[in-house]
């Protein structure tokens, strides 16, 4: 128990100390997206699946936002730079925006 406590506290400390601000911003965005998705999931369990298309659209919009944010985080993390030699952070962000545009177009269509 002690070890878990000390390990988690040192994890948190190093996260706050070593993580660049932009990645922290992405993380907080992902937490927000995750919570929105969770709320919808709880709601669909309580209220039922009708209207199913609206539920799918709302839920998929959160999932895709989460996945795209995770991609952006991977591609802009300086520690992963060696794995993405041809992808600059600007390019990664532009990809992120373009993909989000497509997703929101599909979601708006499907929302009913």
């Amino acid at each position: 128990m002690e070890e878990i406590k000390s390990a988690s506290s040192s994890l948190l400390a190093s996260y706050f100390k070593d993580t660049p601000k932009s990645l922290k911003l992405i993380d907080s965005y992902m937490v927000y997206v995750l919570l929105t998705g969770l709320i919808q999931f709880v709601y669909v369990v309580i209220a039922g699946t009708f209207p199913n298309n609206a539920f799918l659209a709302g839920f998929i919009s959160t999932i895709s936002a989460f996945v795209l944010a995770a991609n952006l985080r991977m591609q802009t993390n300086p520690k992963n730079a060696s794995q993405f030699p041809t992808t600059s952070p600007e390019r990664a962000f532009a990809d992120f925006l373009a993909c989000n545009l497509v997703v929101h177009f599909a979601v708006a269509n499907f929302l009913g």
Partner: protein, 361 residues
């Protein structure tokens, strides 16, 4: 004339009445066999030593008095029991019907003690069993083919004679009564030659609830009303038909809905019997058939099929902005707004630009 041409006549909708006797010829036997009716062999007759008529069957016990209450089928559309004044006299040959032929019904059958035996040597009975006995002996049978052609089989020509019509029946142990032959034969021949028990579909109407006209097609889950008008022919004219068991089926391969139609109450001015129901169409699109398949003993068959198309909702007929879905709308909108805020902060929020440009090289 041969059996084939008579069968063809019935297949084209003709009606026939066949009356046999103990001297029945081969052509009529062959013809009857086409309709699953088997007359007993030549020179046989139905005998009954208990139920013979004491006047006409005194010598040979071959004129039997059949009580309609217990030995006649209860199909009022053919011969109504309560209109017969007394027992029915019969002198003639026995026949049997194939019980698996559902179109064929015995109308009158012999009493339990009757048997079919040779007319010539009645003394021989001790050694052999008669070929048919008791209730297996059909005396009068009728058949209505699927095309509503009607055939009646009688085992006795004398049933139709004035002597039998006018006779009074005296059976051992019973009161003397007037013979029921005249009324029985009258009703039977009327039925056979399509003068009663004939149904006709006068009109079929269907429309959406609140509308009057037949629509080009329906939509799934529409509420609609179906109405069919039936008339029955008897006594020389068409009358409104009354029943409580007319059913409507909504069929696409399988019946999706089967519902008993309600009869609109008849009054003095009704000319047809109107049967109607209101129902909600199933949540299933396709080409459906509204079918009324009404087949009852003694009545001509009614099969009315109306084909209708049931369409699904069009893309703009679904309900929109459902209150139950508001959390989902909010979520999708918040994802959009969240993306805008995130992008704004990410680009111009004064973040550590060194991270963003580490890889610039």
């Amino acid at each position: 004339m041969d059996a084939k041409s008579v069968v063809k006549f019935v297949a084209e909708g003709g009606n026939i009445l066949i009356a046999g006797s103990s001297e029945l010829g081969n052509t009529v036997r062959e013809l009857s066999r086409e309709f699953d009716v088997e007359y007993d062999t030549k020179n046989t007759a139905v005998f009954d030593h208990f139920n013979y008529d004491q006047a006409l069957g005194k010598e040979k016990h071959d004129t039997i008095a059949v009580s309609p209450a217990s030995h006649m089928s209860k199909i009022d559309a053919i011969v109504p029991l309560d209109q017969l004044p007394g027992p029915i006299l019969f002198r003639g040959i026995a026949h049997s019907v194939n019980p698996r032929n559902s179109l064929l019904t015995p109308i009158l059958w012999a009493p339990q003690e009757a048997y079919s035996w040779e007319t010539a040597n009645q003394e021989d009975t001790a050694n052999q069993n008669p070929s048919i006995t008791g209730k297996d002996i059909a005396l009068v049978s009728v058949m209505q083919a699927r095309n509503n052609g009607r055939i009646a089989f009688l085992g006795s020509t004398e049933m139709l004679s004035d002597v039998f019509f006018a006779a009074s029946v005296k059976k051992h142990g019973d009161q003397e009564a007037k013979s029921g032959n005249r009324k029985f034969i009258e009703e039977l021949t009327k039925w056979t030659f399509q003068e009663k028990g004939v149904l006709d579909v006068v009109a079929v109407e269907h429309h959406k609830v609140g509308e009057e006209e037949i629509p080009a097609h329906y939509r799934i889950k529409d509420n609609m009303t179906y109405t069919i008008s039936l008339a029955e022919y008897h006594d020389g004219e068409w009358h409104p038909f009354a029943a409580n068991d007319v059913q409507l089926e909504l069929i696409m391969l399988d019946p999706y809905i089967r519902k008993t139609l309600d009869q609109v109450p008849l009054d003095a001015e009704s000319t047809v019997g109107t049967f109607t129901t209101t129902l909600q169409l199933p949540d299933q699109y396709g080409v459906f058939k509204f079918t009324v398949n009404y087949k009852r003993h003694g009545l001509s068959y009614v099969e009315s099929v109306t084909t209708v198309g049931i369409h699904p909702f069009r893309h703009d007929q679904y309900p929109r902005f459902i209150s139950q879905a508001k959390p989902y709308y909010t979520s999708a909108a918040s994802m959009g707004v969240g993306l805008l805020i995130f992008s704004f902060v990410y680009l111009w929020g004064g973040l550590d630009s060194s991270v963003k440009t580490t890889k610039k090289a």
